[in-house]
Amino acid sequence: MLIKFTGGTVYDPLNGVNGEVRDIYAQDGRIVATPPPGARVDAEYALNGRVVMAGAIDPHSHIGGGKVTIGRMLLPEDHQGHEVSRTELMRSGCGHAVPSTMTTGYRYAEMGYTAAFEPAMLPANARQAHLEMGDTPMIDKGAFVMLGNDDFFLRALAGKKDFSFIKDYIAWTMHAAQALAVKIVNPGGISAFKFNQRKMDLDEKHVFYGLTPRDIILTLARGMKELGVPHPIHIHGCNLGVPGSMDSTLATIRGAEGLPLHLTHIQFHSYGTEGDMKFSSGAPQIAELLNQTPNVSIDIGQIMFGQTCTASGDSMRQYGNTKSSNPKKWVVMDIECDNGCGVVPMKYRDKSYVNALQWAIGLELFLLVNDPWRIFLTTDHPNGAPFYYYPHLIRLLMDRTFRNEMLEKLHPGAQAATILKTLNREYSLYEIAIMTRAGPAKSLGLRDRGHLGAGAVADITVYEDNAQDREAMFKTPLFVFKNGEQIVKNGKVVKVVAGATHVVRPDYDKGIEKTLREYFDRYHTVKLDNFRLSDQEIVDSNCGHTGGECGCVIVQPSGPRIS
C-alpha cells in the first residue's frame, strides 16, 4: 500500500524542514524517501496549503494506573454531564477532569496526537497501568517506572552497595515493569512520609535512611546515563506546590553535575515567596539558569482554570495540598514499600491570586526558555488541566494579543505580579512542532516517531492552516494517520486502532535476581515471578473485542552500558 501526501506545507524539525512544500510517501505504514520506480500510488491526498506534521507526542500524561482510576472513582459528579455516547465505532465513556480510558484514546487522536506516555507507573501497580493503557486505543503508549522511594533502592544506596548492583536493579525493574524510562517523585520524600517526615529539601536527610534527595537524584541520573537509557532521569522534584520551591529547583539544576536531567511539571516547583501574599514567580530566575544549562530539559505542567483532579505519587506533598482540595475529598496512600500516591481534586480559579499567578508562571517559563528542544508542552494531565486544553495552550503561546486578553481577565494582583505582559515572544509553527513532536521523540529515544523522514512510522497529522485561531486549527485536524492508516478526519475518529507499547531494555546482570527473589520472599506479598509482566500480557491487553487490532510491544534501542 503506497500513499502519497501531495503538496502540504511540512514542519519536520528532526529533518530540518521548516514550512517547505513537499510530497511525502508512505509505504505499508512507514515513510519512504521516494517510491520504488514504477510503484503505483494506491491513495493520494492533495494537501496544498495545509500544514503537515508528524503525529504529536505527549511525554507526560497520567493516562493509566491506580491513582488515575482512584481519581475517576472519587469524582462521579465531575463526569456527570460529560458522558460520551457510544457510536458505531467507539465505546461510550466520560470525559472531563479524568476521562475514561477509551475516551482518552479517542480524544488524543482527534487532537492530532499519536502517542502519550504515563509518567508515574509504580512497580507494584505496573500490571494495572498497562491494563489501563491497553484499554486506551488509538495512540502509542509507554510508561516511566517510579524508583527511588522504594525500600530496596533506599536500602541499597544507604548500605553503600556497588553502583553496578544499583544499575542492575534499575534495569531489572525496567524489564519487569515494562518501562520506557525512570521517574523519581519527591526523591526520598514518599518514603520519608511513611516515617512521619513532612518536608524534604534537596539536602535534608531522610529520617530513617539518612539519604538526601540530592543523593537519590544523582544516583538515578548517573544510572540512566550509564545504562544507556535514552530519556534522562525524569524528576518530579522537591517541594511540589510550595511557595519558595524555586530554591530547591535552582539547586537541583545547579547540582546536576553535567548529567542529563529532565525536570517535569516545573511550573509547580517555580514559586517564590515575595510580595504581600508571600507567593511570587520564580520563572525568570529558573529560565535564566536553564538557558545556561544545556543538560537539563523540562516540561511545564501548565494550569488552566476550572475543575480538575491532581493525581501524583507524591504522598508527602499531596497530603499538604489537601487543604486546597476542592471538592473537599481526597485520597492519600502509602504503597507496598514501593511508593505512594495522593489524589486531590482542584478547582483553579482565574479570580484567585495564587491560581492566576500559577497560570502566568507556566507561560513565563514557556516564553523565557529559549531552546524549544528542551521544553515540552504539557499540562501534567490531569494535574494542571486535562490534556485536551493543549490547542488552547498552543494559541496562548502563538498569539500574543490573545494571551494578553486572557491575562486581563485575571486577578489584578496576579497581573501586577507577572512580567507576562512584557513578553512579546510568539511561538512559530516550527517551534510548536519541536515542542510537541520532535523534542519529546528525541528525548524519549523514539527513533522512528516524531518525524517525517524515511524510515519513520507514518504517524502524520494534517491541519488546515489558520493563523487567526490556532486553537481551532490544533483542535480539529483535517486528517490523522496512524501507521499510514487514516484514523481521524475533520477531528473525528473514522477508524479505531490499538496503539503499541514502547519499552527500553537496558542490559543487566541476571545474578541480581537471586538477591531480589530472597527480598521478595522475605518482605513482599508478591512473588518475584508474579511481579514481572510478560510481553504477552501487554499484547493481550491491547486486544479489545470492540474495534482495534492487536497492539504490540516495541523495544526501543538503548545505548551501550558503561560498566
Binding site: 465505546r91 500490571r127 494495572q128 511513611k194 496512600m333 504503597i335 510478560s534
Partner: protein, 433 residues
Amino acid sequence: MTNWTQAQAPGNPPKSNAITDVACPFCGLVCDDLELARDEKGLHVTKNGCEKAVAGFERNVDGAKPQIEGRDVDLATAIQAATALIRKSSLPLYGGLGTDVNGIRSVMALADKSGGVVDHALSEGQYRNFRVLQTTGWIMTTLTETRNRADVIIVVGTDIQKLHPRFFERIVNVEASLLSETPAKRTVIFIGKGLDQSAVKGPRIGEIVTLPCDLDRVGEIVGALSAEIRGTPSSADSVAGVPAADIRALVERLKSAAYPVFVWAPPGLNFPNADLVVSAVSDLVKELNVKWRAAGLALGGNEGAISAGAVSSWQSGYPLRVSFASGKPDYDFLRYAIPRMIANGEGDLLVWLASFTPDLGPPATKIPTIVLGTPGIKLASPPAVFIPVGTPGADHGGRIIRVDNVVSLPLRDLGRSKLPKASDIFGAIELAL
C-alpha cells in the same frame, strides 16, 4: 497451559509434579505462594492454601454441559440462544460479575453494546467503601506496607478470619520486617465482640486487646476515639458498653504508635448504615495524621469484586451500578443496584456471571436468566441458558486485582478442565449482536 512436568517456577524446589508461586483467586488477598500438584483425580493444594483455596482448586468441574431450559445442548447453540435473548432484551442486567479483568472487560463491552446495567454481586459491601470514598476520601495503605510497617493493627468490627483465612498469617504474624533486623511484637486490637481471634498467634503477636462492644455499635467507639484525639472527649463513663478509660488508653497507644493500621472488611459490616462506620474510621485516620501517621486497610473484594469495580471505573468513569441504556454511562448507585432493580421488576433479562465459587448463584427472579457459571453453581431453577465456564486461575489464565486496589496478579492456567473463558463467550455474543 501449565506444563506439569517442567513448570516449576525457579523458586524453592517444589515437590515432584508440583508447581509453586500459584496465585489464588478465591478471596481478595490473592495469595500467590501456593503450591499445587495434580494427579488423576485432579488438582491438590500441597502448600500454603487455606480451606477456601482447597475448596476452590480441588473442586471437580468435569462433565458440565451447556443447557437451554435444563436440556443439554452444544456450546454454539447455547451462545446462539443467549445472543437471541440479549438482542431481544430492552434492559439486560449484567450481574454477579465474579470474574477476572478480561472477564469484566468483556462484560463492559457487551453491556455497552446491548444497553445494559452492570453491578457486582458483592457491591452492597463495596459500596460501604465507595460511598465514603466519594464523600470524604481517606488515607489508606496496602498489604506489603502493613506487613512491614504496622506496629499496631486495629480490627474494626469485622471477622477477617472468615473472609480471608490467611490474613493474620501472611500480614501480621510475619517473621521479618524491612525496618528492623529484630522487629518488635505487634499489638492487635479488636473493636467489637465475638470476632474470631484464633489465628492471631505466633512469635510476632504481642498484646491482644478487645473492646467488646456490639458489632453494630463499633462506629460509636471509633467516634469516641476521634473525639479524644481532637481534644473534645465526651464526658460519658462508657461508650457502647466500653469504659471510657479503655478508650482513652487506646488513644494513648495510637498516639505513641509508629504506624497503626485500621483494618475492616466492608462485607463483614453487615448492618444498616454501615458506611457510617467506614466513614468514622476514615475520619479517625485523618485525625491521627494531622500529627502522627496512621492508615486504613479495607479488605473484602472476594469473587473478583475489586477487578470489577476498577475496570468499570477506568472504562466508564464509575465504579459499577452503571446503566448503558441511553447509549452513554448513566450512574446511580441506588437506582442501578441490580438487587433493587429485580425486586422492583426493572430489567427484562438477567445475565449472571460467577466463575469462582458455586455459592454465588443468581437471585430468584421471574425474568429470563442467562447464567455463565462455574459447574455446580447454586441455581434455584434451571435458567433459560446455562453455560459452564472456567475459573480464571484454575481452568484458564487471567489477571485479577487484589483487595488493596494496587497490586494485580497473573492467574495461571492449571489445566483443570477445558471449560471456556467467560470473556470468549461474551466476546462471541458481542460480535454476533
